[in-house]
Symmetry: D2
Subunit: 288 residues, 4 copies
């Protein structure tokens, strides 16, 4: 790991705390819980998600540019989806995270979202990494399907070396020989990353397992081993999700899961931020 | 998983609770923490371990028959090691767990230890599994280096089908492409095993990672995701351990680790048994 | 690979040539083609195989002790199967290869077969390896499902260190992430093994792929890269095979495959032994 | 594989034959051997390669945009390297293959090279794949480090679906647990790809093994199992190669390797095109 000049933990920088917005951060004592659907499908869908998760998550996720194995599968709502995310984040005063698949999308996504995500398949798309170094918004970098810990750190180093120090790593499961789970969640990598870098590390147990019944226990394990937060898939009607339905939690299960994290967080010296009253409810109340 | 007739969770048997001794069990509310060196090296070594861990573990481990990649590496103390284990378990009133590598060793090991372990390399040594079905002592069955969850459960089924229902599964890391950690700890498999079988499931983070600095965080993660206990390597002087020194905790770190587990256990509805006063201290007290 | 004292290639021993019988060897210029069913099912079955393959193979294979994932699956004919193999090898004057799963089976198998096989799941069953060192018959040692090249060589070293120098290595595919093929045939390992050891190396493309339509091309590749021979599954009626039917060739396809190997063998300085007239046909002819 | 509408083998299109130039093709009876250094380093270097390989290869390779794990490693000569490739291909009348890492590079690369390569790390860089569908030059698509056969075929389908039918697949080794070789060459995938698609399939044994001493045997195996050609790394002074030196053949070894392929090719009904007299020698001769 000798080449990781900027990502490496050093005496003067042990843990970076990054601001997603003025009031939401990651890497400090507060955990960051990000929830939302695999794909943005409609404004109604995102409204429901934002409202029902208002007390449990600090940020919303939702894909509008989708990396799909088949060119004939749903590729995401694109620009229309970005508009929805933009509406939601202002209406509910909550940061949104969404994936960028190409350099040409960066500007529009940076205008409509608070955090840009690089997906697993693009972890070593080096030109995209360099371009992400040119912006100043936080970037969630997901580990490649078969990336070593060193390759993962060095991918972050590409972004850092090109000028953007707001990097959040995300472990999301690696390829293995057993098809019982979609991937194998590598929490040992999370512990290692926290020891060798100063960057915040999130865990995505939804993509890691591909089965919603395995998600809550692994979410608790992630917090117990020192992750700085979670990326979780949930949907108002999971079985109607246009993508990754099998791994998607209901909103009720999502809220219950977050509540169950509190004592685990406390046991490892972390905390969950207190519930926020969503901004959009205020005007309604005042209108009475 | 249709063939797992006896290992499968059914309405009438959701969680088996197995007794290691009259006072120590696994699979119920109490967690089972097993600690000790990779290899039994001397009576002194095991005395020190037993005394210093008396407040934190419910069982001791130590190998006397060692599966080693090279025929020229230390192969374990054999019968002399069994005598040491036998002395320790009576002197300290604590159950001991040790590995059996061959059918010819079963009788002697069963006479000197409370729990017999099948190592990863023998997970599909079917004749050994069948022979373990003939005894009535608890068996810790470790997952093979590249065994699927189904193969693991079916290996347990071999023992069950031959008459022994005292099976404890143990996840200890699987082979992967990254050499940063020795193996990849697959906690998703732990969650899956708890859902599809009624058998207790332990986790061995020492073998999984091969690096002692990663062990405590993964031990906490294992408890958080529902494991019934832990198998941990520790040694009075870790760097002098004859095998697997790199992954071995000191006894002080071991005790600190177990203390840190309590709030995690509580958060998931489990508990750590209260510290026992080791039997051997009693005569000393009476001599006053 | 510093510990491989006996298996390592040295100036004085570059390629070991082992005799299976007086007239059949492996490791020299002649390739060794071994064919036969996954499981011995009946004397009729083996007679048909022996007769129809008489012009193309130098040895027959057939399992009588079967390592099966499930305890409820067919476990092999056992002693009855050994009798069949013994009848066949004498009647057709052809060596037979069969698997040994336990120390208790060694004596009987050595009495009824010419070559004993250690299966993948037992590659690190060290007590079985040691016991195989006590006999003087050739041993086919199959690579473990996730064994490194070093572990494979060191498993052979166990047998060598215990006195038996008649070891034949066999690459049979390793575990990987893609379920399209059952395993991934690692011909790079075959080339490496030929460079670092003096032991003969066979390739088993049947188990490696699990699909019969992939077998012939990979068999040709194996010979092209320097393998000393092949282990191939075939059956009079493949789809009626009691085990591994999907990967089993018909006897006609088997003979066609062997014919296609000749120019490949010639291209790399090897040859296929000339067809033998099976011994059993002689008495019939003389009786006329 | 039901979604592979355009890549799938069908009765009307069993094997596509693609033209790299008027006189060089791939996918027909003639094999395509592509040789050259990992990185283009100078015009002198490429001149030497072109001259010394003139009798053995049908195309040259050389990277000018290099995907490197570290941002601080040599990133390739870029545009200067393209000029060198362009000079060489005209001077020696030989097609050149080089990698494209980003959409912004496509136009320049297409102007200076005959075949564009998508590297393993970009196999699922879907926007790059779509952009490659817009050009009409042949594309070599390398299999991702841990891509399944289905994902590989569907990545080709992206390019096909966007209009470019000149796709050449390339197997280059997959990630595995053994670090003895850099990757594991998956020739079973080559056989499968030839059976399920009509696209030509090359094999790159240099990247697959990472060790030059393993390359020739695996090159022969690749041809024996039906590959349509090879991508091989070689350099005038291998140990001075700026990247991947350990896997690079000398030019003499390269020529010897190609000669050794002829009988293997003949054995499987293929042939190596006859040696061409390089164009550049002609003017020199005429000048006399």
């Amino acid at each position: 790991m000798q080449n990781a000049k900027l990502a490496a933990k050093v005496e003067s920088q042990k843990h970076s705390v990054l601001q997603l917005t003025d009031s939401v951060s990651v890497g400090g004592e507060d955990l960051l819980i990000v929830g939302g659907p695999c794909s943005v499908e409609s404004l109604d869908q995102m409204e429901t998600v934002a409202q029902q998760l208002s007390g449990s998550v600090q940020a919303l996720r939702g894909g509008v540019y989708k990396p799909r194995t088949s060119p004939y599968a749903f590729q995401g709502m694109g620009q229309d989806g970005l508009e929805i995310l933009n509406t939601i984040r202002h209406r509910y005063d909550i940061p949104v995270v969404t994936e960028v698949m190409a350099i040409a999308q960066i500007e529009a996504v940076a205008d409509h979202a608070d955090v840009l995500q690089i997906g697993s398949r693009n972890m070593q798309n080096f030109d995209l990494l360099k371009a992400m170094g040119e912006i100043d918004k936080p970037v969630v970098l997901k580990r490649g399907l078969a990336a070593t810990i060193e390759e993962f750190v060095m991918a972050a180093e590409y972004i850092l070396a090109h000028g953007n120090s707001n990097i959040i790593l995300c472990e999301r499961g690696i390829r293995s020989f057993d098809s019982y789970t979609r991937n194998v969640l590598d929490l040992g990598a999370v512990v290692a990353l926290k020891q060798i870098t100063h960057l915040p590390v999130l865990v995505d147990p939804s993509h890691a397992t591909g089965k919603r019944e395995l998600v809550p226990d692994l979410a608790r394990a992630a917090i117990a081993c020192g992750a700085d937060g979670l990326l979780l898939e949930c949907h108002p009607v999971p079985e109607e999700s246009v993508s990754d339905a099998r791994q998607t939690l209901s909103l009720e299960d999502m809220n219950a899961l977050v509540r169950s994290l509190k004592p685990i967080a406390a046991a490892v010296g972390r905390s969950l931020p207190v519930a926020r009253r969503p901004k959009s409810e205020a005007p309604v109340a005042m209108a009475q």
